[in-house]
């Protein structure tokens, strides 16, 4: 084979790669929405402008409940005029990939980066390289300029469990999660504890499907629980929750949405959704940056009392009537949690 043909082959070989690169680059560029509300930002960083330059980096599309919650909270702050906002959706999940995204923002004068996924390694790397930038993410450890966003979803799951205990006829409830991580473990345990409070005979069956995004597997897991008699279920994780919604709709049983309001996915079957509201989290982080009190970075935790999590009921739920006494009990406990009189046990597993 001559040199010429090798050259020709090599050129052609580059075609698909270039194609891929171009497509991905275009995708990323148009997703990197420049949502600057105006202001334009003068040369001077603090020059009379009190809007915090903020970027939110999301691991998924804004149609995904997890990303929608983050996106909506950041958008609300932008509307109030508190921040200049830049948004990246569908950021790469791997550390190397997302590090580049975070670094780009850090480099271009962003003051606060909201890294809305479990991106500890990337956050630490960028925080070290750009000591002027503040980052909030889901990490296990703190750094001077990396704050932790906590997710006390279990508090709302306890209330959901109380309703589940009152609703179940088979005395069997179910829960499925992506993997055995503290967030999900605590959520499922609290759901079970809540159910046992209103119904002593409740038995909970649950499963880890081993994947966060595979909705088909999530649906299968919930179906397996339904086959075993479960008639009220909950899930933890995007794929498990989406799959769960489809399974309860088909079997016409009851379930609870996770993180965002999922009632549109199973309008008659969702009793309600366990919401994770990022409003108070982002507001606190932005205020801290503005007041120069972000460092040393802290753990932001806003539970039921502070509106960081909540149980949102779905008006369209029609599988059966929620017994009035169970509803009363739940509302009473909700008030007790808010006033600090009762603390939902946090069981995150081994």
């Amino acid at each position: 084979m001559g040199v010429e043909s090798v050259m020709r082959l090599t050129t052609w070989k580059a075609v698909p790669i270039c194609l891929a690169a171009i497509v991905l680059a275009t995708g990323a560029a148009s997703c990197g929405d420049d949502d600057d509300g105006g202001g334009g930002g003068g040369g001077q960083a603090g020059g009379g402008q009190d809007k915090v330059k903020t970027a939110i980096v999301l691991p998924c599309a804004t149609s995904d409940p997890w990303c929608k919650q983050g996106y909506d909270a950041a958008k609300a702050l932008q509307k109030q005029g508190a921040i200049d906002l830049k948004v990246t959706t569908n950021a790469p999940q791997d550390t190397a990939g997302v590090t580049r995204v975070l670094a780009q923002y850090a480099q271009s004068g962003t003051q606060l980066i909201l890294a809305h996924s479990t991106w500890q390694d990337a956050a630490f790397a960028v925080a070290k390289q750009f000591p002027d930038v503040d980052i909030a993410s889901y990490a296990f450890e703190l750094r001077d300029n990396v704050a932790i966003l906590e997710e006390p979803i279990y508090q709302a799951a306890y209330l959901a469990g109380m309703l589940a205990g009152g609703l179940t006829e088979s005395n069997t409830i179910g829960g499925s999660a992506g993997q055995d991580v503290p967030l999900c473990h605590a959520e499922l345990e609290a759901f079970e504890d809540g159910a046992k409070r209103t119904n002593k005979q409740v038995k909970m069956i649950d499963a880890y499907i081993g994947d966060w995004n595979d909705s088909a597997k999530g649906k299968q897991a919930t179906q397996a629980q339904i086959d075993q008699g479960a008639d009220v279920v909950i899930a933890c994780g995007g794929g498990p929750a989406t799959g769960m919604a489809q399974a309860i709709k088909e079997a016409n049983i009851s379930g609870f949405g996770y993180v965002g309001d999922m009632s549109s996915q199973a309008p008659k079957n969702m009793v309600g959704s366990v919401l994770y509201n990022l409003g108070p989290y982002f507001k606190a982080a932005v205020t801290d940056v503005k007041d120069d009190t972000f460092r040393p970075a802290k753990r932001y935790e806003f539970g039921l009392a502070d509106g960081g999590v909540s149980l949102q009921l779905n008006d369209g739920y029609s599988v059966k009537e929620i017994p009035a006494n169970v509803m009363d009990q739940m509302e009473k406990v909700q008030d007790q949690i808010k006033s600090g009189e009762f603390k939902v046990p946090y069981e995150a597993g081994a």
């Binding site: 052609w12 995004n213 088909a216």
Partner: protein, 322 residues
């Protein structure tokens, strides 16, 4: 632990009927990949074809409201990507592995981007599901009936197509050409079998099967689309082809075995106490892979010969000896 909750007759029927349905997208893609690999082309773009088929079928079903047209759209986009793969790998004779990976990357980028642009920020869109149909008489056969004959229409179509492709590969002239081209392209060419044409056709069939798999996943099971909804099924399908020793029936069996053990592990977890169980969940998670691997290795040893197409992954150039 009460094993009758898993292996009792009633429980087993439910377990089998859900697992065959859930294994279908992987099974279709794997059989299609067998055709391509038997012809000598390693199509690593399978995951991208599944994903694109899933999105295309979802969009058409969502906007047009027809499951049939949605399914056809999924197949069509699969064929289009199969053609792209064939153009790059057969016509231009470029590196197959790179072509395949590029197709996956392009598909992941485009599907996520398109879905975000159309639905980003709103509520998650859903399409109507398709009802299950009981096949007259057959569905009342105890055991087999509820497992195989109480599924949705797309399931029956898929079974027919998967078996049809198995026959195509083992019982027709085209199947013989495919094997000849994959084993010894120079000899095939000498016998007036066009290597390029056969490989093109094999890749189109492979793409169509993967696209159909995507449609079955989204329209037959989930009724929603999500980013990366294919969840690695394309990669598992490629592994199944190797484990199944390029024999379409073994591959099909392997896909269902994998699907069954996967459903089984979820069931065992629930019965054994879920989060309160003392057994680490990772052991359950590894079960489908372990079982499939063991069975396939045993089958290979039993069959006792090397089944890999000799020209797999090698572009064919006339006059350059094989």
């Amino acid at each position: 632990m009460d094993w009758s909750e898993i292996f009792g007759p009633d429980a087993l029927v439910v377990l089998l009927s859900t697992s065959v349905a859930f294994a279908m997208p992987t099974a279709l893609a794997a059989v299609g990949e067998t055709v391509a690999e038997r012809a000598g082309v390693l199509n690593l773009g399978l995951e991208g074809m599944l994903l694109s088929g899933a999105l295309a079928s979802f969009l058409v079903a969502y906007y047009v409201g027809s499951v049939a047209l949605g399914t056809l759209a999924g197949v069509a986009i699969g064929i289009a990507l199969g053609a792209l793969m064939a153009f790059l790998s057969v016509t231009l004779k470029t590196e197959q592995i790179i072509n395949g990976i590029a197709i996956v990357l392009v598909a992941q980028g485009i599907t996520a981007f398109t879905f975000e642009k159309l639905f980003g920020g709103g509520e998650q869109p859903t399409v109507a599901g398709i009802p299950d149909v009981n096949v007259p008489l057959l569905h009342s056969i105890p055991g087999v009936g509820p497992v195989l004959f109480e599924q949705n229409v797309l399931f029956y179509v898929s079974v027919a197509i998967a078996l049809g492709v198995c026959l195509l590969l083992t019982r027709t002239r085209f199947g013989l050409s495919v094997s000849a081209v994959g084993e010894s392209p120079a000899a095939a060419e000498a016998m007036a079998v066009s290597v390029a044409r056969t490989r093109w056709l094999a890749l189109l069939v492979g793409g169509a099967m993967a696209g159909l798999g995507g449609a079955v996943l989204v329209l037959g099971q989930l009724n929603v689309f999500e980013e990366d909804v294919s969840g690695g099924r394309g990669w598992i399908a490629i592994a199944l082809v190797i484990f199944g020793r390029w024999n379409p029936l073994f591959v099909l069996g392997g896909a269902f075995l994998f699907g069954f053990t996967d459903a089984l592990q979820i069931r065992v977890q629930a019965v054994s106490g879920g989060i309160a169980s003392t057994v680490p969940t990772e052991i359950f998670g590894a079960l489908p892979y372990a079982v499939t691997l063991v069975v396939m290795v045993a089958a290979t040893v039993w069959a006792g010969r090397d089944a890999q197409p000799a020209a797999l992954g090698v572009p064919f150039r006339k006059g350059v000896g094989a």
